[in-house]
C-alpha cells in the first residue's frame, strides 16, 4: 500500500522519467530493496538457527560405534529418548517445576502490578525499580549468590537456624532442591513480568476504571472484573515466555550441581542431560536428538497452551 502511493508520487516528479525506468524502479522497490534489507538477518537466521536444527536432526539419525564407525540408525535415538528414564525424568521434573513455579511467579507479579497500579501505596517508583533490579543480575550471579545463601556452611539461613537451636534447613536436599531452584527463578523474573503487566495496566483507559469506581465497585472488584480481563493478552504473553523458559532450565541447576551433586544429577533438567551427554559421554548424536526433542517439546507445549487459552497474539 505504502509502495503504491510511493510510486504514484514518484511518477510525477519535477522532470519526467521514461516509463521503462519507472517500471524498473518499481520492481527494485518491490523486491530487491526489501530483500537487501532482510539479507543480513536471513543469512544469519539460516546459518545459526535453521542450519543447527537441520544438522542436529541430520546427525541424530546416526550413531557412532566402536566398530564400523558411524552408522545410520533412523529414529533409534528418538525411540531411545522416549524410553530413556533420564530424559523423561527431566521432562517430568520440568513439568512439575512449571506447574507450581509459573503460577506462583505470575500470581506474585500480577499482585504487585495491581497494587502499584492502584496507587494505594507510597514510594511507587522506588518499589518498581527495586522489584525490577533482580532482572539486571545475571542468572549466573543469581545462582551463585543463592547457592551461598542456601549453603549449610556459611549461609545466613543455616546460621540463623543454628543460633535459634534449630536444625539447619538443607535447601539443596533431594526433596527441597526443586523448590530452591524455583525460588531463584522466581526471584529473577517476578519483577520482569511485573513490569510487563504493570505497563499493560497503565494502558487501561481511565474511563473504564472510573466507571467502575462510580458504580461503587471496590478496588479488588475493579481489578478482578475490569483490569485483569483487559490485560489478559499481556498475561498470556508472560505465561508463554515463562513456559518456554522453564524447559530451558540449565544455568541454575548446572551451577548448583558441584554444591549438591547428590540431589542434582546429570539428567536433572533436559538441557543439563543434553550437555552432559555431549561433553561427559561424547554421545554427540544422542545429545543432538535430545536437543532437538527439547525444542520440539517446547514448541508443542507453547502451541498447546495457545490453543487451550484460545488466544493467538503471538501468531499472526
Amino acid at each position: 500500500m505504502a509502495v503504491e502511493q510511493g510510486n504514484q508520487a514518484g511518477a510525477a516528479p519535477p522532470e519526467v522519467k521514461p516509463p521503462g525506468r519507472a517500471a524498473r524502479n518499481r520492481r527494485l522497490r518491490r523486491v530487491v530493496i526489501p530483500y537487501l534489507f532482510l539479507l543480513p538477518f536471513l543469512v544469519l537466521f539460516f546459518v545459526f538457527l535453521v542450519l543447527p536444527l537441520a544438522y542436529a536432526l541430520g546427525i541424530s539419525v546416526f550413531e557412532s560405534q566402536l566398530v564400523g564407525g558411524t552408522v545410520f540408525v533412523g529414529a533409534d535415538n528418538y525411540l531411545r529418548a522416549i524410553g530413556d528414564p533420564d530424559f523423561l525424568g527431566g521432562v517430568v521434573r520440568m513439568l512439575k517445576f512449571g506447574a507450581f513455579q509459573v503460577p506462583i511467579m505470575l500470581g506474585l507479579a500480577l499482585l504487585l502490578a495491581l497494587v502499584l497500579d492502584s496507587g494505594v501505596v507510597w514510594f511507587r517508583t522506588f518499589f518498581r525499580l527495586g522489584f525490577f533490579l533482580p532482572y539486571a543480575v545475571p542468572s549466573v550471579v543469581a545462582a551463585l549468590v543463592w547457592g551461598y545463601l542456601y549453603g549449610p556452611d556459611f549461609g545466613p539461613f543455616a546460621q540463623l537456624a543454628e543460633r535459634l537451636g534449630l536444625p539447619a534447613p538443607d535447601f539443596l536436599s533431594d526433596s527441597l532442591v526443586l523448590g530452591s531452584i524455583a525460588n531463584i527463578v522466581t526471584w529473577e523474573f517476578t519483577g520482569y513480568n511485573m513490569i510487563i503487566l504493570y505497563a499493560a495496566l497503565q494502558a487501561v483507559p481511565s474511563e473504564l476504571r472510573d466507571a467502575g469506581a462510580v458504580d461503587g465497585a471496590r478496588g479488588w472488584q475493579v481489578a478482578w472484573y475490569i483490569k485483569i480481563p483487559l490485560i489478559l493478552p499481556a498475561l498470556f504473553l508472560t505465561a508463554v515466555f515463562s513456559i518456554i523458559g522453564t524447559f530451558q532450565l540449565f544455568n541454575e541447576a548446572q551451577i548448583l550441581q558441584p554444591q549438591a551433586p547428590g540431589s542434582i544429577s546429570d539428567s536433572f533438567t533436559p538441557n543439563l542431560y543434553a550437555y552432559s551427554l555431549a561433553f561427559t559421554n561424547q554421545q554427540y548424536e544422542y545429545s543432538a536428538a535430545i536437543s532437538f526433542a527439547i525444542g520440539a517439546v517446547v514448541v508443542v507445549c507453547s502451541y498447546v497452551f495457545m490453543l487451550v487459552t484460545n488466544r493467538r497474539e503471538v501468531g499472526e
Binding site: 505504502a2 509502495v3 502511493q5 514518484g10 516528479p13 518491490r30 523486491v31 530493496i33 526489501p34 537487501l36 534489507f37 532482510l38 543480513p40 538477518f41 536471513l42 537466521f45 545459526f48 538457527l49 543447527p52 544438522y55 542436529a56 506474585l108 492502584s118 496507587g119 501505596v121 514510594f123 518499589f127 525499580l129 527495586g130 539486571a136 543480575v137 545475571p138 549466573v140 550471579v141 551463585l144 551461598y148 545463601l149 556452611d153 556459611f154 545466613p156 546460621q159 526471584w187 505497563a199 499493560a200 497503565q202 478496588g219 499481556a234 504473553l237 538441557n271 555431549a278 561433553f279 554427540y284 536437543s291 532437538f292 527439547i294 525444542g295 517446547v298 514448541v299 501468531g315 499472526e316
Partner: protein, 293 residues
C-alpha cells in the same frame, strides 16, 4: 514509549489499606534486595569471616584486598573476562540491533512477495528455545573450525527474531509513509531514505533492541560455556563459575570464595548502571510487544 508514570492517587482508600499494601510491597522488596545486599556485604569479607561471621552483616572490611586478589589471580585473567564480556556484548548488541532494525523496517514499510510467510517463520522461531540450539551450534561450529573463537559467541548472538518483531511493530507505528514518500519525490534512493530519514525516527527502537541484546549477551552462560575452552576467552559468567567450581572442589578450603563473590559484584555493577540509566528504553522494549494487539 514514554516513561511510565503514575496517574492516579487512589484517593478513595483508607489509610489502613495504604499502610497494609505498602508493608506488603516492602516485604517483597526485602526479598528482592536480599541477595544483592548479601553480595555487597560478603564482598567485604575475607575467607575466615565468610565462614564464621554472620552472613547478613559486616565483619572486618577487606574489600580492597578482595578486589586486588580478584584482578591479579591467574595472571590477571579477570581483566580478560571483563574485557571479553564487554567486547562480546557490544559487538552482539550493535550488530543485532542494526540487523533487526533493517529487517523490521523492510517488513513494516515494503510489500514484497514472500513477506507474510517469511515473517511467520521468523515469528514462529521466537518459540524455539535458544538453549536447544546451543549443542547443535557447537557441533556445527566445530565442523567449520570456529569453535573456541570470539566469533563462536558473537555470531549466534546476532540473530534476534524478537528484535525483528519489535522493530517491525515500531517501524509500523513510528515511521509515517508520507515521510518516506516525500523523500522519494525528492529523488532519494531507498537506501539513502533509510539512512537519512527512517533510521533517525527508528532510533529509540534501535536502542531498545541494542539494550536487550547487550544484557542477554552479558548474561549469557550456556553458549560461551559450550563453545569456548580457553580461559582467556571466557566471559565473566563462565569464568566466575569456573572459580566457583574450583572453590567447591577444594571443600571450601581454597581461598577462592571471596574472589567469586567480589568478581560477581564487579560483574553486576555495569549492567545495573545500564539498567537504571536507560530504563526508559528497556521498559519500552519489554512492554512494547505485549501492548500491541
Amino acid at each position: 514509549m514514554a516513561p511510565i508514570t503514575g496517574r492516579r492517587g487512589g484517593k478513595g482508600e483508607s489509610p489502613f489499606t495504604r499502610v497494609l499494601t505498602t508493608v506488603l510491597l516492602a516485604v517483597f522488596l526485602m526479598y528482592s534486595l536480599l541477595p544483592i545486599f548479601y553480595l555487597v556485604i560478603s564482598s567485604t569479607k575475607d575467607t575466615t569471616d565468610l565462614f564464621t561471621s554472620f552472613g547478613l552483616w559486616f565483619a572486618s572490611f577487606n574489600l580492597p584486598e578482595n578486589l586486588r586478589a580478584t584482578f591479579t589471580r591467574d595472571g590477571g585473567v579477570f581483566w580478560n573476562w571483563l574485557w571479553n564480556t564487554a567486547y562480546y556484548s557490544v559487538c552482539s548488541a550493535v550488530g543485532a540491533a542494526f540487523i533487526s532494525t533493517i529487517a523490521g523496517y523492510a517488513f513494516a514499510k515494503y510489500r514484497f512477495p514472500g513477506r507474510i510467510p517469511v515473517f511467520a517463520v521468523i515469528l514462529g522461531s521466537i518459540m524455539v528455545p535458544q538453549t536447544a540450539l546451543v549443542i547443535p551450534t557447537y557441533l556445527l561450529l566445530s565442523k567449520i573450525g570456529l569453535i573456541d573463537t570470539p566469533l563462536a559467541v558473537i555470531l549466534p548472538s546476532l540473530v534476534s527474531p524478537f528484535g525483528v518483531y519489535l522493530m517491525r511493530v515500531y517501524a509500523e507505528q513510528s515511521v509515517p509513509d508520507d515521510l518516506l514518500n516525500a523523500a522519494r519525490v525528492d529523488g532519494a534512493g531507498e537506501i539513502r531514505i533509510f539512512w537519512s530519514v527512517a533510521l533517525r525516527v527508528l532510533m529509540p527502537g534501535f536502542v531498545t533492541v541494542l539494550l536487550l541484546q547487550f544484557v542477554a549477551t552479558w548474561n549469557n552462560y550456556f553458549l560461551p560455556l559450550v563453545v569456548l575452552s580457553t580461559p582467556e576467552l571466557y566471559p565473566l559468567s563462565v569464568g566466575l563459575v569456573s572459580w566457583n567450581e574450583l572453590a567447591s572442589a577444594g571443600g571450601g578450603a581454597q581461598p577462592l570464595y571471596p574472589l567469586v563473590i567480589t568478581g560477581a559484584l564487579v560483574s553486576v555493577i555495569p549492567i545495573m548502571i545500564t539498567f537504571l540509566f536507560l530504563q526508559r528504553y528497556w521498559q519500552g522494549g519489554l512492554t512494547f510487544g505485549s501492548l500491541k494487539d
